[in-house]
Every structure is written in C-alpha cells, then in structure tokens.
C-alpha cells in the first residue's frame, strides 16, 4: 500500500506542476508589419497534385491555385468566364467549340502555353494509364469511349489546328460542357513536363495558374508563391505574394492556432463551438453554401422499401431533419427540401414535401402494412464511421424507433462502405446514408448521375420513366431556363415518389482574418476560393 500512496503523491505533484505551467500566460505573438502572405490551415497533405487524379478537397485546393483551364468560374459564382482562352464560339448544332487562346501566356517554367498542350491535357484526362478520375467529365468529347478503352490512339473530339486554336467536338450537344471545362478536368499542363516517365510533376506540379509550387515539406507545410507572369492583373496593392499551407489535423488545435495568431485561415470548426466562435469573432467568421447533399437512400431493387412508397413516406415523416440541422449540425447546414442544392440551376425553393410528423408516420406505417413496425424485420443501415455520422445514426435510431422501425446499424470505414455500395448486384442493405457533391456544378451531376436508370452512381437502382424522360430532355435542352425547369420537375418527381429522404445541404464555415479583402465564397466550397483576387487591406479601407 505504501507504494501506491507514494505513486499517488508523485502523480499529484506532477499534475499540479503541469497545471502551474499551463496556467502561465502565453505571450502574445510579436506584432510586426504584415507581409502579404496567407497562412492557410489544411487538415492533411494533398493525396494527389495531378489534376487528372485529384478527387478530394485537399488536392483540389492546389489544383485550383496552380492550374488554369480554357475557362474558369467567375469568383463567387458558377458563371463561366474566359481564362486561358481569349474567346470561344459554339457551332449552330452545339457540338463544336472553337477556342482562341490568349497570346503570350507561359507556364510556371517559362514554356509557352500552346493549343497542343491543351489537347494533350484533355487526352491525359481520357488516358487510363494516368489513373485519371476524369473520364466521366470528358465523356462528351467525340471518340472518348474508344480512346479510353485503348481501341484507338486518336481522339477526334480534341484538335489543335494551329498553336493558338483549340477545337473540341462533342458527340451530341452538351450544355454543361463549358462548366466541365471550368473544373479541374479542364486543367492545362505542359506536355513536355507531363510526358516525363519519372513523373516529377507529382511532387512539383507545373501549370499556368496564379500560384506556383514553391516548396513542399512533407507532413508539415506547402508554400505556393505568386506566379508573376499570370494573365490576371493583381488586385489593389498587389495581392498575396504567397500562400503558406500548414497541416494541422485537429480542428480544435487549428482553432487555438488561429486565436493565437499562428494562421489566417481555417475551415471545419471543432464541434460544439460554432455559436461561441460566431460571438467571439464575428468579423472573422464566414458562412457559405456548398453544392453537397446528405440524404437517406432506399434500396429500390430489394428489401421492404422497394415498390413501397407508403413505407418510404412513413420514414420521411419520422425523421426530424430540423433537429439534425439545428442541434447536430449546429446550424451550419440547411434542411434539404429536394436534391438539387441552393445556388445550382434547377433548385426548388420552398417547403419540404413532407414534415416531421410522428402521428402521420405511424398512420402511414399502418397503411404500409406494418402497424407499429410489426412484421418489419430490423433494417440494415449502412454508414461510414465518423463522429458526425454516428450522431446522425443515433438520431435516426431514435426517430425511427418511435414508429417501430428498428435499425441494425453497420458502421464501417469509408472504403468498406463504398465497397458495399458498388458491390456486384448492388448493395444488399435496404437503407444507407449518402453524401453527394458536385463533380461539376450542374444539376445533371446531381440527378442524372444518381437516379437515371442504370447510371453509374445509381446505387439504389431507382428507375422511373417519368424522371428519366425529364432528365433526357434536359440533357438535350440548350435554353438554360427551360433546362433548369426540366431539372426542377425531375427533382419534384423524386420527392413525390419519396425516392430518397434528403436530410441537409451542406454549408461551410471558415475563419479568415478581416484584413484579407477581395475574396468571395465559392459555391464549390472553400477549396475553390479565387485567392489570386485577395489582397491585404492594411488600413481596413475595404470596410
């Protein structure tokens, strides 16, 4: 016992000493004249710096800064504007796009940007051996299928008649094609660098975007330096000279680093602190919308929900989405009332087609043949395991339990979860949670890719001829207003059929020091903010 007592005494001394050290005041950071450098926080290093492989937000941040395409999204909007292209024309039948390049543009290594580089870059996106993830993006190009399959080395859809002209030919009109070209799939790389078999470009990417890769310290930081020969004029007093990205995995640590002046930008605030941060730093806190949705997906091929819209509607009425958004998501997100998110053409404004109503849900359970859940086997529910989704699972378990539906949760890592969804023959579980974000910001990417009969992302194997017809017509439609309306109708068809239960559209919270001015939220998310437009407002004149 004496040993234990001594251990206690020693332990107490250590704890007291630690408390004393921690309670000492931390000296404030030295105030020096600010250099125009943005200290950016990211949770982890980018998995990939190759634009054809990049598929995650961390990687895409670098892609958007380092590379330019023929066109780009105007800052803060989904409008497409010229980038490397000076101008373009579209043929009468909507199939041929002719781009004239700006003159005198160079890559970061000083090589000139030519039409041949543009064509090469698009061909890379359709080349299997590059491990490209952009096949779906560039599929409208004529001959993309045989080229991808390796049946031919020719891609008639992309041609460079001279060094300043690019001609892109589509198999059929695609009103969303310019939008696709404004994403990372349209990034232009210098052919001579990216043909290097050593693949040095994976660590030292070369583009013609507003920032160059200046240094890469693995697991510590990446510094992007301003590309002085970029075609855009610098904002106000010159804009940012550099962006120094530090990797700070934990959001709470990042917040403390922000508070003590170590970083200028962070996103993904730690849970439970949103309201406090808003009060504490109102001039630093910014909230935007993202083209993401989280929803509950039903298996339409097998299981109790297939062919039973009444049961699906009962589930929809039983879930308290307001509670989820207000309390679990702390008000960061929006209650989803459809599939197409706000800010995207085709979004339906207004109320949800159903409300949280337990009495109505119970009545529908009776109508569906499962009064108080009797006769309904426990429902296998798939989810990947994160803290946020575990909270959602707890909520669903409680809400559905109230109408007699018992969930048998199967939590798994993301790889296993994706494996279940893409399994041969489709997922076996009747219910799962799903997050979808815009690969390219077009309603077809949200509706067509997920719910069109036989579509690659239609894991639920939903099939509805009325919906398919609306989407098919929208795909052909060139009038933007008519096209948006067709997608709006298609969205309503999904809701009327309770093909899914939308839970929330994502928002994004960021903290950015108020002295940085000239920036705009990107609908794509914080990763796509046009930092080249941002400048340091030293005297606060920007307001």
């Amino acid at each position: 016992m004496r040993v234990v007592r001594r251990t206690f005494q020693a332990g107490t001394m250590v704890v007291l000493a630690a408390c004393a050290v921690m309670s000492c005041d931390v000296p404030p950071p030295q105030q020096t004249a600010r250099e125009p450098i943005l200290r950016y926080r990211m949770d982890a290093p980018p998995p990939n710096l190759d634009p054809v492989r990049a598929n995650d937000n961390n990687s895409l941040f670098y892609i958007y800064q380092i590379f330019d395409g023929l066109v780009e999204f105007a800052p803060g909007t989904l409008d497409v504007q010229a980038a490397v292209a000076a101008s373009w024309t579209i043929s009468q039948d909507g199939k041929v796009y002719t781009f004239k390049l700006k003159e005198g543009l160079t890559f970061h290594n000083g090589m000139p940007v030519t039409a041949d580089d543009v064509v090469y870059s698009l061909r890379r996106g359709l080349t299997k051996s590059t491990q490209s993830q952009k096949r779906d993006f560039l599929a409208p190009l004529d001959g993309s299928g045989p080229f991808w399959d390796g049946e031919t080395g020719k891609l008639p859809g992309a041609a460079a008649p001279d060094s300043g002209t690019v001609v892109l030919t589509l198999t059929e009109p695609s009103p969303q094609f310019l939008t696709v070209l404004a994403t990372e799939a349209g990034s232009i790389v210098p052919r001579r660098v990216y043909e290097d078999p050593e693949q040095t470009y994976l660590r030292q990417p070369v583009g013609c975007g507003p920032f160059t890769m200046a240094s890469f310290e693995p697991d510590i930081a990446i510094t992007l330096a301003r590309f002085n020969d970029h075609w855009k004029t610098r904002p106000n007093d010159g804009g940012l000279d550099a962006i120094r990205v530090r990797f700070i995995r934990d959001a709470s640590t990042a917040l403390e680093e922000y508070r003590t002046g170590g970083i200028d930008f962070t996103y993904e605030l730690p849970p439970g602190q949103r309201a406090q941060i808003q009060t504490e730093m109102p001039a630093h806190f910014h909230h935007g919308k993202q083209l993401w949705i989280m929803y509950l997906a039903f298996n339409h091929h097998a299981g109790p929900f297939a062919g039973n819209p009444t049961l699906r509607r009962a589930i929809a009425h039983a879930i308290d989405t307001d509670y989820i958004v207000r309390n679990l998501q702390e008000g960061k997100d929006w209650v989803a009332t459809g599939v197409i998110p706000p800010g995207m053409p085709g979004h339906v404004e207004g109320e949800a087609p159903w409300r949280y109503d337990v009495a109505r849900a119970r009545a529908l359970m009776v109508e569906a043949g499962y009064p108080e859940g009797r006769g309904l086997p426990p429902i296998d529910y798939l989810t990947n395991e994160t803290q946020g989704f575990r909270r959602i699972l707890d909520r669903l378990t409680s809400d559905l339990g109230a109408i007699g539906v018992k969930l048998n949760a199967r939590e798994m890592d993301f790889g296993a979860f994706l494996g279940e969804l893409t399994a041969q023959g489709g997922p076996r579980a009747p219910l799962w949670r799903m997050t979808w974000f815009a690969d390219w910001p077009d309603p077809d990417n949200f509706l067509g890719l997920q719910f069109f009969t036989g579509a690659a992302g239609n894991y639920a194997r939903y099939s509805n001829p009325v919906f398919d017809d609306l989407v098919a017509r929208a795909r052909r439609e060139t009038d933007p207003a008519v096209r948006a309306d067709l997608f709006r109708q298609a969205d309503r068809v999904l809701m009327d059929d309770v093909a899914l239960v939308p839970i929330y559209w994502y928002g994004s919270d960021i903290l950015l020091r108020p002295e940085f001015a000239g920036w705009k939220h990107s609908p794509l998310g914080p990763y796509a903010i046009a930092w080249e437009e941002v400048y340091l407002d030293r005297d606060g004149s920007s307001g």
Binding site: M1, S252, N327, Q387, R391, R395, R410, A416
Partner: protein, 275 residues
Amino acid sequence: MTLLAFLSIELGPARRSLLARYVLAHGPHDEDRAVVSPPAPPDARHWLGTDVQRRDLLSRLLHGARISMQVGLGAEAIALALGVAVGALAGYRGGWVDAILMRVADVLLSLPLPILAMAAIAMFDTRSIVLIFVVLGLMGWAGIARLVRAQCMSVRSRGYPEAARALGAGGLRLIARHLLPAAFAPALVAATVGVAMNILTEAWLSFIGLGVQSHSVSWGRMIVDGQPELTVRPWLCVFPGIALAVTVMGFVLLADGLRDALDPKTRMATHTTSS
C-alpha cells in the same frame, strides 16, 4: 462506486434505491424533449447533464459501466482460464511442451495488446461486445501463463509434489492439488490488474472507433464523443473519464489489497507488527 452502480442496475432489489429510481426515470436511450438546447449542462433534473441527443448522461454512464465490466471481466475470465491452463501445463511438463508454449507466450507478450487487439478486431465487419472480449481474452493470457508456470516450476522443485507422486498421484491431481494452489494468489492478483487493463483497452478501442458499435453505451465512446467539445462542454467528456479512471484505479487497488491479503509473507509481517 462504478461497481456499485453497475450492480444496482443488474440486481433486482437495488431498484428501490434512489440511484436506481433515477436510472429508471431516464433510460440510457430516452430523450428528454423538455431540453431546449442540447447538450444541457448538469442541473437538478439531469445530474450530469445531457448529450446532444437530449439523453441523460448519468444514466448512460451507469449503463456504460455494464459494457466496461462485461469486457473487463469477460476478457479476463478467458485470459485467466487460458493462462492458468497453459502455465500449469508448461510448468508441470517442462521440456519441449514448455518451450513451445512459452515461445508462443513470448510472441504475444512482445506485441502491445491494444495494437494486437486492434488488428484482430479490424478484420471483422461488425463489432459485438462478445467479439471484443473474446479477442482481448485470447490476446491477454500470456502474462498469467508465465506467472503460473514460474510458480509451478518453483513448487515442483520442492519435496512434497515428489512425495505425492511417489504415493501414486496422477498428473492432473498433482497439478490441481499441489501446483495450482501455489499459483492461485499471484494469478488472481495479475487477473485483477488485467481487468483494469481490459477496461482501458476497450475504452481505447472505442476511442479510435473500433469498440462496440453504435447504440451500445460505452465509456470510451462517450469520451470520444465528448472530447472535441472538452473546452466548451466539459461534462460530456470529463464524467466518463472520471468513471473510467476511478474504476481502473479501483481494480488496481483491489489487486494491491489482494496481494497483501493473499501473500503469506505480508500476512505474517502484518501479524508480527500488530502483535
């Protein structure tokens, strides 16, 4: 404290207690819809506050004790049974049997239990409490086996087992009546510490997302759920943390006490001092 709380849930008569009435009033999964802005801090209605789903934290803490105890005791029961059997066999037989069994034990001892358990559990798609304590039990027997073996070998070298053999005692009788009683006390002490280690390992597995699956209440899971909000809503994380620390320390102290009580030398010294 935790053990008492655990028993108060498990045993019928204890339901009349104040604690049990409280627990019955707030089930671990029951929502208190009167809570306006969850998670609610501790107050008279919810002594330890609520979580973000408006569930009473004290009730969940007490029910979480069940998982911790089940894992701690269940896993150690398996480890104890295996360890005693392997240790006794190795100590009694010696030779190549001893060599093989002890090399297996050495391999297990050379690997950290949590990492080993993590690798084993990660192979399974779903994670039940039975899986967790079976894995921990199967991984945790080596220390006890080594202890029992050493005791058996020590006793074997003395005269009385030889005498028993000369009187016709068989191997099983020799082990059960003469070797194991000598190994009982140290094995029990080691197993008691093992319970504490298992509870910690279960909490750690839950912390990294490999513990029992959702809807089971576990202290490790409560800690990981509350940890990001430690600075703003400390009650979510601190109370399960305290419960875990107190329980683990309780088992360590129990082991200490058992050792004092069962060790003849200590008993003799205490007796001599007191007289």
